[in-house]
Structure formats: structure tokens, C-alpha cells
Symmetry: C2
Subunit: 240 residues, 2 copies
Amino acid sequence: MPSALKTDVTPTMSDKTTLTDAVHQLLRRAIIEQALKPGMRLPEDTVGEQFGVSRTIVRHALVRLENEGLVVTRRNRGAFVAEPSLEEAKHVFEVRRALEAEVIRLLVERMPRSGYDQLEAHVRSEESVKGKDGPVSIRLAGEFHILLAELTGNHVLARYVSEIVLRCSLIMAMYAKSHSSDCAVDEHSQIIAAIRDGDTRRATSLMDHHLGAVAGRAELEPKQDSVSSILSRYGKELAS
Amino acid sequence: MPSALKTDVTPTMSDKTTLTDAVHQLLRRAIIEQALKPGMRLPEDTVGEQFGVSRTIVRHALVRLENEGLVVTRRNRGAFVAEPSLEEAKHVFEVRRALEAEVIRLLVERMPRSGYDQLEAHVRSEESVKGKDGPVSIRLAGEFHILLAELTGNHVLARYVSEIVLRCSLIMAMYAKSHSSDCAVDEHSQIIAAIRDGDTRRATSLMDHHLGAVAGRAELEPKQDSVSSILSRYGKELAS
DNA sequence: CTAACGTCAATTGGATACAATCCCCTTGCC
DNA sequence: GGCAAGGGGATTGTATCCAATTGACGTTAG
């Protein structure tokens, strides 16, 4: 277990956020940043003792993560970090394209005043970590899309986009060789420009291309650094 | 508490479905069918004792329902059946339109062989309960859309549509005067026909109109049969 | 009579204890 | 040597128990 997870959760316990929320977010970040790799087991008491909380809390957090599609639980077997199949990955990207098309439609229609400032600030922060393609750049790339969704003012939409983006991050972590967000940042800027021009078609097309490129890169070469990951994936096919 | 909820949950307890699942689904149906009205409190031990299970189970079920947006929980106050505001209702319908547009796109592209048979069978069952517009017709109307989504083969999409449709059912229960699914059944048939013709544009337009009509009906007149519901809604506005 | 304060009951937040289930490994048999 | 059945260990599923927070009521002072 990576030492990064050994942080204690209780310093600001009653800061309006419940313990479950804290564990939930920590686990989520750990999964997205690949501290917890796909297929890895998540025993309730192990996790709980790492965070200094009881199984009850971990359980609740795992339920949420399962609803988000980031972990799967098998009856009396426990929770595992999800290993999306290529088919599921395709499905996730299909939904994502639909949702983000709606985001663009809405933003062209009603982008808030400070929207472009926030977006450009975000792009700048993306550029600042452009070189070192680590977990941070993955997270920032995702947060750009989440920010877009939030700017629509539609919290329901923002929530779904957020979920989907996280799942995509997990998928990219599994399948993409290198995240190479070099072009992504440029594409983000172009999308902003298209929205500013009120050109829904171009913006949507750019977004489709953006996501399509990402998905395409992913499908081309399953990441093969982890033997257990590969084996368990084969094992899953066998079991079905 | 309605006696319909007094069913025991444990007859086929270990039938591959956990107690939490059972309670979750039962509560969900109770909410959708308006046995549990918006704003109603859901004390853990009361519910648990009604179903003959412990608070722990109810708790897990409530967590899931909260994730689905059907209940809201306030810190140390407990769980309540959600009372979506008009704004939130609008957001939900926006997302729904986007998702269902994608469903149609995909179905025109790849409707499975037995798809039309299933759809027509469903429409027939909708027509059979056309007169008595009760909870059943609400449920069936929703299940039509869920069936559409499932026929895409995209389980991720189907899941989101399912969630959204359930939320819409709750919204309709709150705001719509009468569900009057008279035209809805016709519209369902027309949508099927448009998909069969491969006419994406017409099918999408029909669907938009279908949902738009539903949303429009909803927004025109908030349901005013329950004083407590109205008051609590006003109270919520006050609290913000 | 009103408003603020203190106490109390009710309910959830969380932890621990017990039971059921499943996987895996061993062992015996073919 | 391989396969099947049984047992042990580990992990989840569920229930009960204690603590913390909140809302409400009653009391009291102004």
C-alpha cells in the first residue's frame, strides 16, 4: 500500500464534511491518480485501518464509488478497483460525447460572465504542468471538462459529466500508453474559442475530435505493464 | 404509513440479491408510485422496522437513493424524499433530452433484431392500462424509455437514462396535475416508427416534443394538493 | 408578553461484535 | 497424476451498542 494513502482523515473532522465524504474523495483521488491500480482489492478493514476509521465508513464510501463505476463489488468477495472492459470504455465515451455536446450547446447559449476567465486560467494552469505528464496533468485535463460542465449552471449535468470524466480517467490510466496532453491543452483552447464565437457546430466537432482522439489512443494499445491486470482481464472473459 | 409498505422482505433472502438491494428497490418504487410523498421523512429505524431489517440496511439503501437523487439527507436530521425545485427539474429534463437524443442516434444505427417486438409489446401493455392513470401507468411510461436505452446495448447509457427517468417520475409526481398519458402512448408509437424509418431527425424531434410537453405540463402548474409540500418548498427557498 | 437560554428527548453518526458466505488449500480417492 | 470433496481462513453481511449533534420544549429574566 502506497505511503501516500497513510494520511489521517480526522484533523478537521466536523468541518461540515462527514467522514464518509472524506474517505470517498481520498479513495477517488487515489484511484484516478493510479495509486490504486485497476483490479486491486480494497478490503474494508485494511482501508479503514489505513485511514483510521471503521469499516462502516469505508463501506459507505465504497457504495458510492460503486455507483460511480470506479469500483466493482462481488458478493462476499469484496470491492475491487474497476477494470473497465474495452466495450465498457466505448460505452462510457459514447455517453461522454453526448453529455459534453449538451454542455457546449448550453454554454453557447448561456455562458456566465466570468466563465471565460475561469477557463483561461485553468488552461494556463494546465500549460504550466505540460511537461511533466503525471497524475496531476491527468487530473487537470479532467477538471477542465468538469469546469465546463459547471459553467452551464446545470448541477445535474455537471454531476454526470464529473462522474463520466472520472471514469474516463480510469480508462485512460488502464489503456493509454502515455497521456501526452500536449495537444489536449491546445484543443481545450480551441474549444473555448469556438464557444466564444458562438459556433456550436465547430465547438462540438472539436470536442468530438478531442474525445475521439483520446478514445482512439486508448483503444489502440492496452497498457501492458501489469501482468496481474492483463491476467485478471482474461480471467474475467473466461468467467463470463 | 401506507400498509402497502408492510411487506416482509426476507422470503427469498439469499436469492443472489442482498437485503440492501431489496430495501433499495422497494423504497424506490414506493417513492415513484407516490406511496412516499416528496418531503416525507424517512427515519431509519421506522423504515427498518417496517421492513423487518436493521437500521444498517436502511442506511445503505438511503445512501444509494441519495446518490440517485431521489432522497436528500441533512446532517444529523435524517433522510427525506427529495423535493426537486423547479430549477432542478429543468436541469434534469435538459440532461434527459440530451441522453435520449443519444439513445435515438444509437438505435437508428444499431437496433437489435428483437428490439421492435419488445417495444411494441411494451406499448401494448401501456395501452392496456391507458384508462386508469395510476402509479402503474407512470411506471410503465418511464419503463418505455428505459427499455429504449437498454436496447442500445450501452449499459452505461441505460443506467443514466434509468436514473434520470426515475427522477423525472418524481418530478412529475410533484408538479404535474394529471399524468394524462393518453398522448404519451401515441407518441411512443410514433417514436418507434421514426426510428424504424431511420429518420434520426424526426425521432429526435418527436422525443424532444414528447419530453418538452411533459416538462411543459409540469412547469405550468405545481401540484397543490398537499399543504405541507407547498410549505416546505417555500421553507426551502427561505432557508437558502 | 417576548425573547433568550438551558435542558431533554429523538435521531443519526460511527464502532464493534457476531454470523454467514465464499475462496483456496489440503487431502483422499480414483 | 488428476480430480473431487471437505475443512480452514479470511472477508463481507448484518445486528446491536455507544456517542454526538440537533431540534423542541419549557423556563426564566427583562
